[in-house]
Every structure is written in C-alpha cells, then in structure tokens.
C-alpha cells in the first residue's frame, strides 16, 4: 500500500516510470532529489507594465474594463538566453517542464535556496490531476536586477500523496494544459457576480 505524505526519491521515480507522474522534458535524472524535483525556468514570460489604466481591477469582469492581462507584456527567450528580474516587477514564467500530477498527489513549489538567497521567492500549490506547464509568479525583493538563464533550475517541487483521489476537472477550470504563463483571471471568478449584486442592491 502506498504511503501518504511527502514522497521521496524512490516514490517519485516509481511514479514517473509508471507514467502516473508526468514531467516532460526531464533533461537530467539529477533533477530528482531526495524529497523534491528541480524544475527549470522556461522560455516564456509575462512581465508587469504600466499602461493607460491607473490600476488593476480585480472586480467583476465587465465589458468596459480592461482584462488583467493588459497589464502584462509577453516575451520569449530561447533556452540558454537570459532574462532579467527587476526589483518590484511582477514576473510570471512557465516551467520548462510540462507536468501532470496523479489524482492523489499535490505539489508545492518553492524557489531553490540558491535563488531564494538572492531575493527571489515564489509560493505555488499545484492541485492533484493538474496538467500543463506551471505558471510561476516570482516576487523579487532585492534592489539590483538579477540575470537568470532560461533553462536553469530555479524552483523545486515537493510532492505529497493524499488519502483519497480528487477529480481535477469536476469543476470549471481556468487554467488547462497551459504551456505559456497565463495572467491572473481573478476577475473571472463566478462569485464576483454575487458580490457585485450585493454591493449594488443592498446598500443604497
């Protein structure tokens, strides 16, 4: 019987060999560590930019409002080329690896310590059954731009096996099989319509 909790190197290799856990391309076996797998910074980025609109509006998506993605600029690199992280700039990138998680495994992403020490940090949870490259949002708290080579191992994923299985596609999903970073769709949350009605109809 498979144990629950944090998966170790042997567990991870078994899952990959059986095809239950997909990580493609896995360029080096050494990416699989004792309790985590290193993932590489991919070649596609979204970077925040200043535009004509004064602020990001995460309230209900309306015809009159600009999409949140309009605050981001899309840019690509070839593997091996560099990308600059600037202080206070929001950056989303896709992992080089396309991931598919088993229905009973959750993944937690963090920056590898070598990059955390430079001020780069991230915090992302990947739900069981997820498939796609992972959009990683990076917060950079340093005060000097940092050059990072695309394809470098920037983040690590820890994998936890859960008690039961979950069905990723049971509910509506905003991010499916993505291979490039996708800007926030916070203003597409369905319950925002309810909150909008509450604000309009109850406090006049």
């Amino acid at each position: 019987m498979d144990h629950k909790g944090l998966l170790t190197k042997g567990d991870l290799k078994t899952l990959i060999e059986s095809g239950d856990l997909v990580i493609e391309p896995l360029l080096q076996d050494s990416q699989i560590g004792e309790i985590s797998i290193d993932l590489r910074i991919g070649t596609d980025f979204l970077t925040s930019q200043l535009g004509r609109d004064p602020y990001l509006d995460t309230s209900m998506d309306g015809e009159q409002k600009p999409p949140l993605k309009s605050f981001f600029n899309e840019t690509r690199r070839n593997i091996g080329e560099s990308f600059l992280f600037h202080p206070s700039q929001v950056v989303l990138f896709s992992t080089l690896e396309y991931i598919k998680l088993p229905k009973n495994v959750i993944a937690i992403l963090s920056t590898r310590s070598s990059y955390s020490r430079l001020g780069l940090s991230t915090s992302t949870i990947i739900q069981p059954g997820y498939c796609g490259c992972i959009s990683v949002e990076v917060n950079y708290s340093g005060n000097t731009p940092i050059k990072v080579v695309t394809g470098a191992r920037l983040v690590q994923a820890r994998f936890y096996r859960l008690e039961g299985e979950t069905e990723y596609f049971n509910g509506p999903r905003k991010y499916i099989c993505q291979v490039r970073p996708i800007a926030s769709k916070a203003n597409e949350d369905k319950d925002l319509a309810v909150l909008d009605r509450i604000a309009r109809d109850n406090f006049e």
């Binding site: 493609e24 391309p25 690509r76 070839n78 080089l96 396309y98 796609g132 099989c177 490039r180």
Partner: protein
C-alpha cells in the same frame, strides 16, 4: 524615380532602420542580416546622390525595395513575434531540399485573416540584384530571406499554420525551377515566354500542385482540411486549380497512387539531381498519443515532429467524441494548440540539450 523621390525613399528607409534597430534577435543569423542591410544603407547614404543618372536611380529603387522588404520581415521575425515552433519544423523540411545555411525563414504578420503567402523571387532574379549591389558598393549580403506572410491572429494556431508548409513549397518550386521545367517540357519553351492564358494557367497550376504535394510530404492532408474550409467548392481559376482537384492530388500522393503530374514532377526533380517527393512523416495514432492523456506527444524523430500537426487536426476534428468532449469549444482549441506547441518545443529542447551536454 527622380532625385526628390529618391530622397523621400532614403528618408523613409532611415526612419525604418531607426525603428528596427531596437529589435532583439535570438537568431544570430537574423541579427547579422539586419546588420548587413544597415551597412549597405550607410554606404548608400554617403553617395553623392545629386549626380545619380536615371540608371543609378532605377538600380537604387530596386535596392530600396530590397531593404524595405527585408526590414518588414525581420521586424516580425523576432522570437516574440514569429511562430517559432512551426518555423523550426519548416527549417527541418527546408534542409531536406536545399543547404539551409544560406537561407533564413522569416515571417511577416498580416491583419488579413486568410493572408498566407510566399513572397519572393527565384535565384536568378535574386542574383541580379546582388550583382547590382556588388558592382556598385563592393558589398555582399550573406544570407537570403525566405519570406512568408501569415495572419497575425493565427500566429499560435498550429492547425491553420500547416499552410506554411505549402508556402515553403512555393519557395522550393521557385528555387529549383520545378514549375518552370514542367512548363518547358509541355510547351517546349521557357516559361518567361508564356503569352497565352492557357500557358499562364498551366504554369500557375503546376506551382500550386507542387506546393500542395511538397506540404503533403510532411503534414499529410492537414492543409487540405484547411483548404476545403477556406476555398470550399472553388472551381479552377487562372491562378489556382479547383479545390477538389487539389485535394484529390494530395490524396493520390499520400496513397502513392500513380498520377501523370506527380510522375512528371518526380522526373523533373530526378533530372535536376535533387530530392524526390516522398512521404516524410511518421503517422501518430491519436488513440495512443499523449494527447489523449492531456500531455504533449513524446516525439521520437523528425518525421514524427511533422506528423504532430496531423495529430492535432485529427484530435480537433473528432473533439465532439474524444477526450476533448468534456471541455468547452474554446478550451478545446487552446488544449490542442498548446499540446502541439509543447510537443514540438520539447523535442527541440531535448535535441539541443543532447547536442550540448
């Protein structure tokens, strides 16, 4: 062109170079080509233009068109703009036919939804212009551009972009003079001496058939599906054969059935000492592909790489009944395109990693 319109053109080019010089090219050959265009332009600028004769002005009109056109395509061929993954497939196809080092495939993005086209001259015309540049400025431009237009809105639509293989076929046709030789064989004279409607029609149709067959070598009948959509039931025109006939010709080639035109093309290619038309794809079974599990297909070789587009089309065409049926229409569209893109890019990354490790 007179001296004032020459000055106008010169100034316009100066503006174009000023805008384009901030482009970042990941491909060093594109960067070099841009630098060479700029060097040539700098040489032209310091000439004493007021003394140009009519012939000088005419030659420079041609050179200016060459520079404008080069910038137009380079501008839309940065990594951010160009359909990089599909261009890597085209480069592999190109190398089956012509030494690739000389050429750079570039794209220009159009606002017109069906604007797929190849733009260019054959080697002879190109050499004439290069000779003018060499004679006047003792300058040689190393690379040649293979210029393909495509709709901007479809730049990440890997289903429709299969048409780019057809456009590359037009370049190969011009470069190897396939239609020109077919014409010569039929009418017993060079194609530049074509005068009648029938002659023009034959030459144009031969070019379209060749481009269709060239594409079918790699993407099977994928472009026929698109063709049947944009040109459904179109009868033959002066420039294009009837849609039905084009689709049939591709089917005959894929099924390796005998056909007089295909045999004649093969004969011409053989006589020219170049590659023959052949099936250069390795069909991927949709049922066992990665796509059914919502993961990219693990492409094992170049022939499979070309076949990923057909896999995408099959997946899309059956999406009411296959694993995609649970998703909304727009989600299906994104899933198919994303899986095609990642299948190609994974193969490319693994290949380049293996070469450099």
């Amino acid at each position: 062109m007179n001296h004032k319109t020459f000055e106008l053109n010169l100034t316009q080019l100066e503006e174009s170079f000023s805008k384009s010089k901030s482009n970042k090219y990941s491909n060093p050959r594109k960067k070099k080509h841009f630098d060479q265009l700029r060097e040539l332009f700098e040489k032209i600028k310091v000439e004493n233009h007021s003394e140009f004769t009519k012939e000088d002005l005419e030659d420079h009109f041609q050179i200016f068109q060459f520079l404008f056109n080069g910038l137009e395509f380079l501008d839309d061929s940065t990594l951010n703009a160009t359909p990089y993954e599909i261009v890597t497939g085209l480069e592999r196809a190109l190398s089956d036919w012509i030494p690739q080092e000389t050429f750079i495939i570039v794209t220009s993005l159009s606002n017109k939804i069906n604007h797929f086209s190849f733009e260019g001259n054959n080697a002879e015309k190109n050499n004439q212009l290069r000779k003018i540049i060499k004679d006047r400025y003792d300058y040689e431009i190393e690379h040649r551009l293979i210029k393909i237009n495509l709709p901007k809105v479809l730049v990440r639509d890997y289903l429709t972009c299969v048409v780019l293989y057809h456009e590359l076929g037009h370049f190969i046709d011009l470069e190897l003079n396939v239609s020109a030789k077919l014409f010569q064989n039929k009418f017993g004279k060079p194609h530049i001496l074509m005068f009648t409607k029938e002659e023009f029609r034959y030459y144009a149709h031969a070019g379209e058939y060749f481009a269709d067959l060239f594409a079918a070598q790699y993407i099977e009948d994928s472009s026929s599906i698109y063709l049947n959509y944009v040109a459904h039931n179109h009868s033959a025109s002066n420039t294009h054969p009837a849609t039905f006939d084009r689709i049939q010709k591709v089917l005959q080639f894929i099924n390796q059935d005998s056909d007089p035109l295909i045999e004649e093309i093969q004969h011409v290619l053989q006589q020219s000492g170049v590659s023959q038309l052949a099936l250069r794809y390795e069909t991927i079974d949709p049922e066992t592909s990665g796509f059914t599990n919502l993961i990219p297909h693990k492409v094992e070789n170049v022939n499979q790489l070309h076949a990923v587009y057909k896999l995408g089309w099959e997946t899309w065409m059956k999406s009411d009944d296959n694993f995609l049926s649970r998703f909304e229409r727009r989600e299906r569209y994104h899933i198919v395109n994303n899986l095609i893109e990642k299948s190609i890019s994974n193969f490319n990354v693994q290949e380049i990693w293996a070469k450099n490790i």
